[in-house]
Amino acid sequence: MDQACKRKQTDNLTMIIPEINNQAYTYRPGELLPELEGHISRGRFERVLRNGDFAVTAELAPPDSTDRNEVFEQAALFDGFVDAINATDGSGANCHMSSVVVCALLSYIGYSPIMQISCRDKNRIAIQGDLLGAGALSICNVLALTGDDVSAGDHPEAKRVFDLDSISLITLIKKIRDEGSFLSGRTITNPPQMFVGTSINPFVPPVESRILQLEKKINAGANFIQTQYCFDMPMLKDFMSKTVDKGLTEKAFFLPGVGALASSRTARWIKNNVPGVHIPDSIFQRLEGAEDQKKEGQKICTELMQEVKEIEGVSGVHIMAYKQEECVAQMVKDSDVLGGRKPWSPKDEY
């Protein structure tokens, strides 16, 4: 696109939003970085990974509100400790602010959002529209997910869509990006340059086939992988060694998911109610034996991060600290996985 024209658009949209944490943020569309050889997107997240730095991503829980400051306040908790922020898309099949809009808000400040797309709620027409919209808002990363079933959430009576599955979704994003056309073949001028991720859950059956599924996802075009919660390190290590053996770590970046459990009661609830979370007994024992279970949960999470970093083939870690977002920065700090590197923060910029 014409550079001068783009600059003008940016200026028009510039406005100041209220102060958050005594910090004035400039509200503007996140600017794309210059194109770089060997890079797919023009976003910061891909650069961190390709640079070989150990990346940290964290999940933001979209609010049940129209107050955008709630989004900014949550994101600000990660400042200087996180490279990219995942905006969940109706996680657990519950209604929240849409991931497209959360990412748009984040991108306007300059954050590097990862837009999650779940196949549960939208068909191929809606998803392609969202991808173009995301491109227009300088959102550079997407995470293609199947999504939890509607029965898991607060609207079990809803119609499940699942027009696509995650692999079809990756195929679709890749087609739009690389061929510059919709599925129908109609041309897209200026297709979105998306860095595509997906998830894998190596801890649930069919465990032996999960590696084949991962291979299929990468063959479909996944550039990075964020896994489901990893609490079982031996299982993760086994899975990663198979991944390395198959040469898959050469083709995609791996960010195992870790989380902080608030108490053994929460852990039990997650185990029984959230589909696909495997928590080994040793974790329960540690939590139950601790005086302050919440602290212990965070300590476990910190140790998991350190362990993850040592595994061959891993490029980063993905933190899902639902309702404990305020502890993410401290846990990253304590784990020292960044090794002194300081991820981009709007506080340095403005």
Binding site: C119, R120, R124, T146, G147, D148, D149, S151, A152, R160, F162, D163, L164, D165, S166, I167, S168, T171, S199, I200, N201, V204, P205, P206, E208, S209, L212, Q213, E215, K216, N219, A220, Q228, P275, G276, H278
Partner: protein
């Protein structure tokens, strides 16, 4: 039928042999019938296919048949109609996240595929279903398109 469907993926190798032997015959017969009747028998043939595949595989007549690439387990029985592998919600006993009383279709599919000679077919990417084919006969379509049953 659920029991027949489990039987199919558990005996995927035998089904594969039968499939490979019968599919060219079915398709060439359909081609001849189609030439003679000019599509007048499409409805009874579709009905016939629905009965047979319905009994054997709980076929949902999506019209995009991929049975031989999914270990003889029909992916349309997955409540999320996933066509490329299981979701992340499979229960510890291998049952479905959505229907706890049912084996996950993809647990069946991967184990069925492992028994088959062409055990790499399951690794082919199957793009999402073409919904315009819903309710139509996959056999007739393949016969008309001069393709093999896949």
């Amino acid at each position: 039928m659920y029991r027949a469907r489990l039987f199919a993926s558990r005996h995927a190798r035998a089904y594969e042999v039968i499939y490979n032997a019968t599919s060219p015959v079915i398709l060439s017969t359909l081609r001849v019938i189609n030439k003679i009747t000019k599509g007048k028998l499409d409805r009874p043939i579709t009905w016939f296919e629905k009965i047979i595949k319905g009994f054997l595989f709980d076929c949902q007549m999506c019209g995009n048949c991929v049975l031989s690439s999914t270990g003889m387990a029909c992916p349309m029985n997955c409540p999320k109609t996933l066509r490329n592998g299981p979701c992340g919600g499979v229960r510890e006993d291998g049952n479905c996240e959505v229907k706890p009383e049912m084996k996950c279709v993809w647990v069946e599919a991967w184990s069925g595929s492992a028994k088959m000679k062409d055990n790499l077919a399951i690794q082919e990417i199957q793009f999402a279903v073409n919904h315009t084919h819903q309710g139509s006969s996959a056999w007739i379509r393949l016969a008309k398109e001069n393709k093999q049953i896949i």
